[in-house]
Structures are given as structure tokens and as C-alpha cells.
């Protein structure tokens, strides 16, 4: 798959200014990386950015997360959430209610405890892990929102767990609690590069094994070298040559 989408081409890469995937370090250190390249570029030489202006561009360009609105007045949280908060103190950092869905936001360190509690407590009984997924917010230091969609067959209720994860921060795998999460976590590893500690078989699942980069990150280009080849064939040939040489070595 030498002709696949552009892997991180390095400093001499041919990708145009809008296409170069921002490196993880940039995003992790909180620099407003803009996935679409729409951020107003302020060159330091021409205009020393004043303080409020420096704070504003990231807000305008790259969103830093969904609003997670708190539950409205009179909407009392389900009993199992109240029980969870009292059984495991410090486990619920925030509670959100939006268009009929409850979301419990928890710290990364508490994932296994909370998951085990929600599966085993008789009034929660979340035996089905419907979905595990990630939303990428590159402008944030903890750039990934990790979301678990749970369903209880006995009580017929749903809840979502959400936690925030930084790049290269290992997340405890919930496969020991819900084996169904196995492939779902593998897909997240493949597509976003989130590492799950304790996962029995953490391999790529959809992309080829030797693939570089994580395609569903926001800073990964949508279009591969196909168009690049059309626009700038010489650069692309150079990149391919350097890659072939690296392979031989």
C-alpha cells in the first residue's frame, strides 16, 4: 500500500501548507492546531498578538469540546447515577443531559471502578456495552473524548460514560468487564491511536498492519497522495523515493 494516503511526511514532506498533519506534540502542548487550516495566521513579526487576541483564535477556529449542558431544573438524574456518586466518591466529575441522553463524565483513573460498579450494581445492571468511541478535539491538551455507550437489558435504560484522555496516555481497557469492547477498542487504537492498557490483542483492525498514522484524527488529511500526485508530481516522487530508501535500509 505504498500509494495510500500520505503518512506523516516529516519536515521535507511535500504536503501543502494546509495538508501537513500537525504533530502530536503541538496539539498536546495546547497550541491551537487547526484541522481545517482556517485559523487566522498571525505572524509574530508583523503584529505582536495582544493577550486577549491570543486567547481568541483557538475559540473561533477549533472547537474544544461539546458543551455538555448540565441537567435542566427539575430533571433529576437517574437513581443509579446518584448511587454511583455516593458509592464511589470522586468518580463523577460532571453530569450532563442533552436531548434525552444522560452522560456521566468521569476521570480516566476511575474507568474500571465505575464500569464494574455500573455492570454489577442491581439498579444499574449495564450488561451491554453498545459502543466505545472517541471524539478528537486537537485544540485541547487532553485531546480525546472517550465515550462508552452502555445499555441495560434488564432495566431498558441507557447512559454514556465520558472521559478525557491525552495523547499517549494509556487508558485501562474495559475488555475484562465487557468483552464486547475488544474490537471497539481496537478500532479506536487503529483510528485515533489511543492506547488501551491491559487489552488482550491490541492490533490494527481496519487499516493495514504497516500503516503509519491514525486516519480519523482531525489533523490527518482527508485526501491522500492521489490529488497530491496531480498537483505536484515531483514532490510526491521525491517522497516516495526517500521512503523506498528508508525501506531498503
Amino acid at each position: 500500500m505504498a500509494d495510500g494516503p500520505v503518512k506523516d511526511p516529516g519536515p521535507d514532506g511535500p504536503a501543502g501548507p494546509g495538508r501537513t498533519p500537525a504533530s502530536d506534540q503541538d496539539a498536546a502542548s495546547g497550541t491551537p492546531a487547526s484541522p481545517s487550516g482556517a485559523a487566522p495566521v498571525v505572524t509574530p513579526a508583523s503584529r505582536p498578538a495582544p493577550k486577549p487576541a491570543a486567547a481568541q483564535p483557538p475559540k473561533a477556529a477549533a472547537p474544544t469540546g461539546p458543551p455538555d449542558p448540565p441537567p435542566p431544573e427539575g430533571q433529576s438524574p437517574p437513581a443509579f447515577v446518584v448511587a454511583l456518586a455516593s458509592a464511589l466518591p470522586d468518580s463523577v466529575t460532571q453530569l450532563s443531559y442533552y436531548v434525552g441522553d444522560w452522560t456521566v463524565i468521569i476521570p480516566v483513573a476511575k474507568i474500571l471502578e465505575v464500569a464494574r460498579y455500573l455492570r454489577d450494581a442491581p439498579d444499574a445492571a449495564f450488561d451491554q456495552c453498545s459502543d466505545v468511541t472517541v471524539t478528537d478535539w486537537p485544540a485541547r491538551p487532553q485531546r480525546f473524548d472517550l465515550i462508552y455507550a452502555l445499555y441495560s437489558i434488564r432495566h431498558r435504560h441507557r447512559v454514556r460514560l465520558k472521559t478525557m484522555v491525552a495523547v499517549d496516555q494509556p487508558v485501562p481497557s474495559v475488555t475484562s468487564i465487557w468483552p464486547a469492547a475488544n474490537w471497539l477498542e481496537r478500532e479506536i487504537f487503529d483510528m485515533f491511536g489511543v492506547i488501551f492498557a491491559g487489552h488482550p490483542d491490541l492490533r490494527r483492525i481496519l487499516m493495514p498492519e504497516d500503516w503509519q498514522g491514525h486516519p480519523q484524527r482531525k489533523d490527518y488529511p482527508l485526501e491522500g497522495p492521489g490529488e497530491l500526485l496531480m498537483e505536484n508530481p515531483i514532490d510526491w516522487l521525491k517522497l516516495r523515493q526517500s521512503r523506498d530508501e528508508a525501506d531498503i535500509e
Partner: protein, 366 residues
Amino acid sequence: MFDTNELVLNMGPQHPSTHGVLRVVLRLDGEKVVDADVVIGYLHRGIEKLSENRNWTQIILLTDRMDYVAAATNNVGYCETVEKLLSVEVPRRARYVRTILCELQRIASHCLWLGTHAMDIGAMTVFLYAFRERELILDLFEEFCGARLTYNSMRIGGLPLDIPSGWDKKVLEFCRIMDTKILEYEELLTHNRIWLERTKGIGVIDGPEAVAIGLSGPALRGSGVPRDVRKDEPYAAYDELDFDVPIGSVGDTYDRYLVRIEEFRQSLRLIRQATEGLPEGPIVGKVPRLIKPPAGETYHAIESPKGELGYFIVADGKSTNPYRFRVRPPSFCNLQGLPRLVRGHLVADVVALIGSLDIVLGEVDR
């Protein structure tokens, strides 16, 4: 004496009974399967990433390409998720037509499943019979929206078109035909001795374990778990209609077969009720011209013919495309259970079990 060695056998990706491009690496002890590794991704087209760069209306067309034998169901799931984000009320007539289309689609999908599953096991006639009836449904869809496979048959807020005149009569006529055809399938298979030998006691899984490894849909109900999104979290018009959720008792391939056969009947029952009670009224709700849901995220699940089809969508409130578009594909999660099901069975049963899970690789790989 001879030594015994484990043999690694590669099945697929080009194999007729893997229903697409699925590769299963089998570790064999003689003819018994010791372990299986499922390799997927050959049909990965990046639909999730692509959708994050298309506007809300264009995505309907992409959802067609996931489970391409049940495209209308995918459309319904996506549109309802966006309607939930927009808080749009869908008119009653549109919800009824959606129900009819979903159930027709379920019958078409089950026909394809039945035909291919039976042919994998060696029953050729059922394949021809089942495709004959699927053709009638494709004709109905063609009359409704002009396409036969990828329909693009929904719009956010309702339907693109009202049903053509006389279409409801044709649907009822189809139900009448289908009633007798189910009997034909059952005559060929249900008490067929070869069929019983090949399916009874194959891939037995009990309810709690089936839930734990992530099965959903008929594969889960075959194990005796009465979980059906249509009943538990009603969408479209299912809360106004009357139907039963068939469940199995043993959890083997035969039970999963019986559950799907009974679902044919329940689908016909739903179609009849919805067609006869089809309310008059508008077909599209009040949807803004430029679709731009407020910032927020939601997960919405529907019952596709394969199982729980969920959409998790994040809107950032600023752009005209979703910030995050995630599909919870039922085939993907069901296929995860394949290694557990095939362990200890013969190579020939692997084919029966892949058929029994009813996977579509377009949806597994997206």
C-alpha cells in the same frame, strides 16, 4: 506413532461463503477448529471520516453504502439521529412510511440471508426461491424512490416523496404472496433432516455470554434474550403498532434460523398494520433550509435487520457538517463473536456460522 500438528488454514478473503471480503485464519487440529482469527478491513472506505467532511444531507447517501442490502434502514437511523439533534418532530405519515420501508427492507435482507445461508450449507433451491421474493421488494422500492439497491430514500425531517398512488395496494398484495412463500421455505428447511444435522447444536451460546460478547439482533434473540430496539426504545411508528419479538431457547444456529423465519411473519404483520392504518398528512416536518444542529452530541440506535445499528453524532454548532460521525455497525459487533462460536466445531461448520451471524462486509469495514 504420528505426531499431530496444528494446521493453519486461511479462509478468504476471496471465498464465496464469507459473504464478501472476510478473511478468517483458522487453526485446525485435524478437522476441528482450535482457534480463529478474523481479519477485516478489505472494504474500508473511510465512511466515518468522509462523513465528517460532507454536509448533513450528503451523508444520507453515504449511509446507503454501509449495509447495502438494507440501505433504507441505515437512512432511517441516520435521519432520526439528526432529527434528535435538531429536535424536529417528524409527521405521523412519514413515520408510518418509514416503518413500512424498514420492514420491507428487513424481509429483503432476511431473504438474502436465508438464500445465501442455505446455499452455504448446500440447499440450492432456497436461494432461488428467496431471491425471487426479494425481487418483488426491490420492485416496490424502485417504484417508491427509483433505485433498487442504494435508495437514498429518506430526508432529514421526513421523506423526499410521498408514496406513489396504488403503491400501498401493491405492498398488501406482496404481503399476501409472501405469506405463502414463507411456508415454502419452511417446507424446504425446517424439518429437513440434512438441515437439522447441519444446524442443530452448532455454535451454541447462552444468553448472558451472547450479551457479553456483544451480539445483537436475531443472533442475540436466538439465545433467548428478548432484546429488540423496536420494542425497548421505540422509534418511527413502532410504539403504535403491535408485534411480537421471537426468541430462541438453545442458542444454536437452528434457533437463529427459526427466529429470523418468525421475523418474516412479524414484519408482514407490521407492514399490514402500517399500510392499512397509514395516516394522511404532510411527509416532511419543519426543517430549516440549512441544516445546522446546535452544538451537542447524541447516540441513537435502531433495529437494523442485523442488530442494533447506532449512530453517535457530535455537532459543533458552527459548521454544516458533523464534527464527529460514528456508526455502531451491528455486523462488526456480531462478527466479533465468530471465534467464540467456531471453537471446537468442524471446518464445514464455520461456513454455517458465518451465515448464521448474517454479516455484510460493507458495514463491518465501513
